[in-house]
Amino acid sequence: METLGIWIGALCTLAIFSYLLRENPFFRTAEHLFIGMAAGIGIFYGYQSIVTNAWNPLFNPGDEPRQWFMIVPLVLGVLLYTRFLKKGKWISRIPLGFMVGVGSALAIRGVIGASFMNQITATMSLPLWGVMSKFGIDSLLFILGVLGTLIYFYFSREQKGPLKVGASIGKWVMMIAFGASFGNTVMARMSLLVGRIYYLLGEWLAIL
């Protein structure tokens, strides 16, 4: 069974790589298989989430107190499926509205601390000298980089004079940042590719 598994893995890998030549039936079959499996795994996690978070606390609470409020998400969830009805289609917007409302508030709650205030305080609390000491002035460069990037995206006033200088610093800092991020992404993809080639040459063909 293990040998069969290795052959299956190798054929799946080759079918996907065949796309590099051009789109072909082998790739399309592998693609459909991949989407089907991914959707199946998604269905399982969705089912598990409903059972764990709503069904069990409501119908099988065990020793815990029964959570009657959990009837609400179950009803809202079922209402989502009214979009298949011709006349009742609009009802599916009720659970959608709830999800979007809570999701939007959650986005504000999430970013207000971690992505906004904490980032500002972390930048403001940096000493100008001595830390991140490649050249001694690294934290000064860092603060200038953050300010420059913010100025680059400030469009409420025409960018001339000090604003233009700030925006220019921001542009160069972002170019370096994008270049470094790009380099990291390339390396991550390359390591995946090396892994696939190692699998084909090592586990499948046993050359390595």
Binding site: H32, L76, Y81, A105
Partner: protein, 206 residues
Amino acid sequence: MRRELPIAITFVSGILFLLDYFVKIPYLSEYVVGHFLDWAIVVAAFALLLGAANLLRIHVQRIVKGKKEWWNSLILLVAMFVMAIVPIIWTQQNAVYEYLFKHFFEHLNGTMFSLLAFYIASAAYRAFRIRTKEATVLLIAAVVVMLGATPIGAAIWKGFPQYSDWLQTVFTTAGMRGIMIGASLGAMVTALRIIFGIDRSYFGGQ
């Protein structure tokens, strides 16, 4: 009614969940708003199953109508049902599910993402062909980081790993932090527009 009720629900759920972060409202916070996140997770799970139902509808139609390469739709549906039903009946720790996951899904998933290595290389070539100062800086930073992460880089010059670290600690973090602060302001404004019913695009533009 059809338009106003969902907008009102968005407003009430959004504003209550947001207020709950700053002030605790007696009874309401504990028994209603405190459960909002759990409720949203459950509704989102139903939405996920709705997506699967749509996928099922489209591919069943393709099979029934005998459209071109209908067998791919059959493969998709069989794969979807097997990967969903097997763990539901016998849990994820059963031999069939583990075998399918290890020998099919892991390889398909890994190869699909490794394909991007080729496309990212061709994208890089096209980006760097634009001979501007900005593209040159981007190229130098990318090359330093790539060489810094490989043994051959350190073999060429010992400074590559150090300068790669320095670029990432100072410039990447600074640039990304600036972008993150700006993006969070944008996210907050967009979320508020949605909560207050100014932006209704999530209803399909109606």
